[in-house]
């Protein structure tokens, strides 16, 4: 049974300059206990997607189309009060910025207790007891509950936020770059803790990150997003062995591998598309080294290329050729030259 089914989701940001289509036609399923890693460049819509699941979009963000079935019920159609009851209890968020996600004028304990009591009739003492329990699970001393956020280190604050997300054993955890603000050693410890607890309470997880190496460690499934659309969805193991989409190939190049130390990384030239403008064809075509006329005209649908492996590319059959070429620096240099030519042509 799927815990979450996202169907043909469109999200727009209404701004003074026009409408920005942050998410267009995104669909995916999330099984009970599964963890999905959402990766992509800044502005590709991963945070928007994650926040929309909790209906936490900013005021100008509108879900203009599609549905999100959570336990069979459409979140998009729910009233404010129904969504409020879902938050933390069913869907909990581990926020991006450990530094500022706790209110500076209340103790961490009070903030945890407040969350617990917003969803149950627990007395203060009962809630405090529960807060102590989760603090223990996450590896913080109970006396820290009486601390104010400014009295704690970054790692402690991040742990406190994780503890907060776990207090009510949610069925879905949304982790929005939970460790970006931390140093690598603490990062690793905390990641492991998140996974451990997630497995313990058998909740599903949507894990957002720029860092695809983190996904390889902790998620079963990976979704690569670009320009507000899903480019590729695959089992993590399969993905890291044999990615299909040209963008995924480019992404893999851009991350250092331990085996090839000293090698200069190959980046993807160009920048993501401006989503304020009407998009024709594949979102990635501008920066894709293998694009054809078809790519510029027609938007590729998500196609199955293997077991639970979906890609949005017109040429899945040419994947072997793509993989070979994508490893070469010249291939991407070609894109750079093409981009320069195009911009000169426009001017």
């Amino acid at each position: 049974m799927n815990l979450l089914e996202v169907r043909n989701l469109d999200i727009d940001y209404v701004t003074q300059e026009g409408t920005l289509k942050a998410i267009s036609d995104v669909s995916f399923d999330l099984k009970q206990g599964e963890s999905i890693g959402l990766v992509g460049e800044s502005g590709c819509g991963k945070t928007t997607l994650a926040k929309s699941i909790m209906r936490l979009l900013p005021k100008n963000g509108v879900i203009s189309k599609g549905e999100m079935l959570f336990k069979g019920e459409d979140i998009v159609k729910k009233s404010k009060e129904e969504v409020r009851k879902l938050r933390l209890k069913e869907i909990a968020m581990i926020s991006q910025s450990a530094m500022n996600a706790l209110n500076p004028v209340y103790t961490v304990g009070d903030q945890l207790i407040e969350g617990i009591r917003a969803h149950s009739n627990a007395t203060k003492e009962e809630a405090a007891k529960r807060a102590e329990e989760v603090f223990k699970i996450i590896g913080l001393e109970a006396k820290r509950l009486k601390s104010y956020p400014h009295q704690m280190s970054g790692g402690m604050k991040q742990r406190a936020i994780i503890a907060m997300a776990l207090t009510l054993n949610p069925s879905l955890i949304i982790a929005d770059e939970p460790t970006t603000a931390l140093d690598v050693v603490v990062q690793d410890k905390i990641l492991n803790q998140i996974i451990e607890i997630q497995k313990q309470i058998n909740s599903s997880m949507v894990f957002i990150t720029h860092d695809i190496s983190v996904v390889s460690e902790i998620c079963e499934t990976i979704i690569v997003m670009y320009g507000g659309k899903i480019m590729e969805k695959a089992n993590t193991k399969v993905f890291f062995k044999a990615p299909y989409h040209p963008y995924s190939l480019g992404l893999q190049n851009a991350f250092p591998s331990i085996k090839e130390i000293g090698e200069e990384l190959i980046s993807i030239p160009g920048s993501p598309p401006n989503l304020m403008k009407e998009q024709n064809g594949c979102r990635f075509q501008e920066r894709c080294p293998f694009r054809t006329e078809l790519c510029q005209k027609e938007l590729p649908e998500l196609k199955e290329v293997g077991e639970e492996h979906l890609i949005a590319c017109h040429y899945p059959e040419k994947v072997n050729e793509f993989r070979e070429d994508a490893k070469k620096r010249e291939t991407w240099e070609g894109v750079r030259n093409r981009l320069i030519e195009e911009s000169v042509g426009e001017a």
């Binding site: 909790m54 936490l56 404010k80 409020r84 009851k85 879902l86 938050r87 933390l88 209890k89 909990a92 968020m93 926020s95 991006q96 910025s97 500022n100 996600a101 706790l102 209110n103 500076p104 004028v105 407040e114 969350g115 917003a118 969803h119 104010y148 400014h150 936020i161 907060m164």
Partner: protein
């Protein structure tokens, strides 16, 4: 904390001495003759001379200054030239009327300002929000005497709901504080002037609160509070407003300090027997002791409220502590 307060009080006392000195010389530097307002111009010049001699105005500035400072440390501001009574008594008599008026105005302004400002930030971009900003700015820009007169016109002259002037109906007299101020009659007299003053003050807390709220609302902990599934009101008032309150508190504490001087125009329009009117008259009459006393009181209160604001900061924000 106590050590910090003690240090601040010591600094305050030193500053007060400095301020008193400045006030003393400022009044002496003022053009005009102090005796002119006490002695009738038709009296012979000897009478003036006698007056100047009696009040010590013929002594050198230095002698006058040392006497003034010596008295000051004993909290003796001397006798008013005009009333011939101790300044302390005069201030004591006038101050409660002003303070009650100012406090009521402030309560009106801050209650509406703080909650309204928070609410306006929440409803940013709505018509009601821009109406709120316009409303507060109109009353800040409109001359208070005009607003006062209009109020009197509507509510006293036409509707006859409230009395037009004074602090109590004539003929009534009371001696104790309770007899003077804790009566329905007094309350009726208080309403109009305090509303006019309140409307004038409202822009400060309202706009500071609104702006500070807008800043706070974009903070991550507000999103977190929402993500916890707290009720909208809880997020707005417990999490956002609590943090946005800090600058409003400072503005408020400093405001009390300046409020002791009163709103002269309002006191005049409503014939409110307050300190503000008295100070202005004392200055024009060259009533040095009364003017000096009042100004020193104002500066002392101002400094004190500054300290209160700092202490309140530490109470409201756990990140701030004084060692």
């Amino acid at each position: 904390m106590l050590k910090y307060i003690a240090k601040r009080v010591a600094i305050m006392l030193a500053m007060l001495m400095l301020v008193s000195t400045m006030i003393f010389f400022l009044f002496r530097a003022m053009p005009g003759d102090a005796t002119a307002f006490i002695v009738d111009p038709s009296m012979p010049p000897e009478a003036r001379e006698l007056m100047a001699e009696r009040y010590g105005l013929n002594d050198s500035k230095w002698v006058q200054y040392t006497i003034f400072m010596k008295d000051l440390v004993r909290l003796d501001f001397g006798n008013s030239f005009f009333y011939g009574r101790p300044v302390t008594d005069l201030i004591k008599e006038r101050m409660p009327a002003t303070l009650i008026l100012m406090f009521s105005a402030m309560i009106i302004a801050y209650l509406i300002g703080v909650f309204g400002g928070a609410w306006m930030a929440w409803k940013r971009g709505s018509k009601l929000e821009s109406a709120g900003v316009t409303f507060s700015l109109i009353f800040r820009s409109a001359p208070t005497f005009w607003v006062g007169l209009m109020m009197i016109l509507v509510f006293s002259a036409r509707l006859r709901w409230f009395p037009a002037q004074g602090m109590r109906t004539s003929g009534y007299s009371g001696d104790t504080f309770a007899e003077i101020f804790l009566t329905l009659d007094f309350l009726k007299h208080l309403i109009l002037p305090s509303i006019v003053a309140g409307l004038y003050f409202i822009a400060t807390p309202l706009l500071i609160m609104r702006n500070s709220m807008l800043e706070v609302l974009s903070e991550d902990y507000i999103e977190m509070a929402n993500a916890k599934g707290l009720k909208e009101k809880t997020v707005l008032y417990k999490h956002a407003a609590r943090n946005a309150l800090l600058p409003v508190v400072t503005a408020g504490a400093l405001f009390i300090g300046s409020a002791i001087g009163g709103q002269v125009l309002i006191e005049v329009v409503f014939s409110w027997p307050g300190l503000g009117r008295e100070i202005v008259q004392a200055v024009t009459r060259h009533d040095y002791p009364l003017a000096q006393g009042a100004f020193i009181m104002i500066s002392a209160l101002m400094m004190f409220m500054n300290l209160v604001a700092d202490i309140l900061y530490a109470v409201l924000d756990p990140r701030i502590s004084y060692k």
